[in-house]
């Protein structure tokens, strides 16, 4: 069925408690017709990826605002690979220097959204790049 809802897991990771952005994105992607599960704060790499597996989600979105993005990104990617989630879209958002965007892409992130991204742009990207389910 081609009109199946896109399923998105959004999460914070570790101790970073800046959750305004993650909650807003979850809310607005839901309004854009996606099924969104926001895992909340204090999540572990393993727990987040397990949720993606359990929920058979199409997109994983991590929000970083405490400078921890280069630390956690490779861990998330490795855990995704462990579970064979190579067709799950991996996006991140938050506050980081533009210098860190190419390294994150190299680490396996599909798309990085900085603060100030407009919702339409994010929705359009996800719709255009999400895996096509049978």
């Amino acid at each position: 069925m081609s009109d199946k809802k896109i399923k998105v897991i959004i999460s914070k990771i570790g101790l970073d408690g800046h959750d305004r952005g993650a909650k807003v994105v979850a809310n607005l992607l839901r309004k854009a017709g996606m099924e969104v599960i926001y895992l909340g704060m204090f999540q572990t790499v393993e727990g987040i990826v397990k949720a993606v597996v359990d929920e058979d989600a199409d997109v994983i979105g991590i929000s970083y605002l405490s400078g921890e993005h280069l630390m956690f990104t490779p861990l998330v990617k490795a855990e995704m690979e462990k579970w064979g989630l190579d067709d799950v879209l991996f996006v991140v958002g938050g506050s980081f220097p533009p210098e860190d965007i190419p390294p994150m892409i190299e680490m396996g992130v599909d798309k990085v959204f900085r603060g100030g991204t407009l919702t339409d742009d994010m929705v359009a990207y996800i719709k255009a790049n999400v895996r096509q389910k049978e």
Binding site: G14, L15, D16, G17, H18, D19, R20, K23, V24, N27, L28, M41, F42, S66, G67, E68, M71, F72, S95, F96, P97, P98, E99, D100, R114, G115, G116, L118, T119, D120
Partner: protein, 571 residues
Amino acid sequence: MSQDIETESTGKVNWDKFLKDYYAKPQSVRTWSGFDVKEIYTPEDRKEADYGLEVGDSGEYPFTRGIHRNMFRGRYWTRREVVGIGSPADTHERAAYCFKNGGTGLNTIADVTYEMGLDPDHPWAENEVGLTGVNICSIEDMEDLVGNIPLDRVSWSVITASTVAAVTMAQYVAVAQKKGYNISRLRGSIQNDPIHFAYCGFRPACPLDLSIKLGSDVMEFCTKNMPKWYYTTVNMYDLREQGITAPQEIAFGFGIAMCYIDELLRRGLDIDDFAPRFTFYVSCHIDFFEEIAKIRAARRMWAKLIKEKYGAKNPRSMQFRFAVHTSGCSLHPQQPLNNITRISYQSLAAVLGGVQSLHCCSYDEPVCLPTEKGHLQALRTQQIIAYETGVTNVADPLGGSYFVESLTDKMEEEALRIMKQVADIGGMEEAIRTEWLDHQFEKEAVKRQVELDEGEKLTVGVNIFTTEQETETPLGVQRVSSVSTRQQIKDCIKLKETRNHNKVFDAIKHLREDAEENRNTIPAMIKATEVFATTSELMGTVREAYGYSYDPLNILESPFDFSSRTSKAVV
């Protein structure tokens, strides 16, 4: 919506677009918080107001125009940049840099580990120590942070880590006493508002009853022992950063302040014993006049609240003293140098509003921790306003403006309406327990993004006059040294191995008893700090006495077994 007015970064001038820009006019005639404003304000808009009753001269009740008669002619505001990075020694170095360049106050900010009340050896701390501020584990760290700063001469706003403010106060006092200071002479402030930290990502660490208990312990202890210390900085700024409006900032901030006031009155203190030591941390967002009006309204409302509701007699109790943190969430990573302009207007609003102490964000705030150059530039913004612009010569220069006075009235009216709403729910404690407050924050945050998405609010570089994404940060990027992080963890582990375990055990047991008997916990925390008990040990022990898990993340258990006089930390 902005496609048709976007600049074209290359090629020829688009003359159609040129004409559109030429004829452009404001597309909204509302304030940032959404209030309609008129084309012009005239004496007709001020007919009802009684100057003496509602406005009054600066230095006079209800202090709408400022808390001092002569305002900045007496002294400029304190130019206090927030500093916090990596280890205590790294942070001390940056603080010293600000002092060398004309900073006149210090405000240190903690990392998420300390803010959560964890030690650096916690399994979750490994990736985060020092990333967003300074980590303090023990008295040794506080000593490194203080260094040779003269504590009786420098006004220090100690650590923005409200959850553990009681621990911070104990660590600070322990170091000050060790250095031979008479603590009754110490000047400065502490951000001691644990309630609000539940809204800043630290909810497991600050249950409401414990927040009121520990916050009030600090206030009570300081009332009796540190008369020159400002021991309650109610943090309206962090609330505002959740996306709420200017009147909500006042109403929610005052609601939280009243939780502490009510508890101190229950403990038998008189309002005039402690109200003069209350201060506020206020946001200055991008709507220039609305922010000034908000500050003026807050001053008038606080004076009336403390006098009329709480019966204060001392005019100092009625004075709304405040620091401003320019709005971090109004800054953007797109075209980052533009943030300098935003920050300048915001700090000018703070100064015209009669601020006591100011932190200007650095332009790189939405990108990384401030670089040294970023910090210096922010400090220079303050200095240019103070020394060059001439705006400091006259108290409340906008007082009497038909518009500003009218907007001040509007802010007061709206904030009072929201406070009434909170009172109808059953007060702020109830609004927090029922998560009514959470709902307000979430609703407003979504509204702010929708306004941006739909172009109802225009932001240069974000939804208007956009350009290609930058690849570099103009003045470089601040990184936190992983050497500092690893060393901080090692030092914590070593300290726990080498200190006198019996002394720690006895001091922690004493703290536990004081907490269980509902005595003030600060004296026992100071004693425990002196014998090298750590941040999480102090917090965890009090948490357990109140029926909460030792570790807010519920991973570690208490190393102290009071039934058998052993400590699992003792190897």
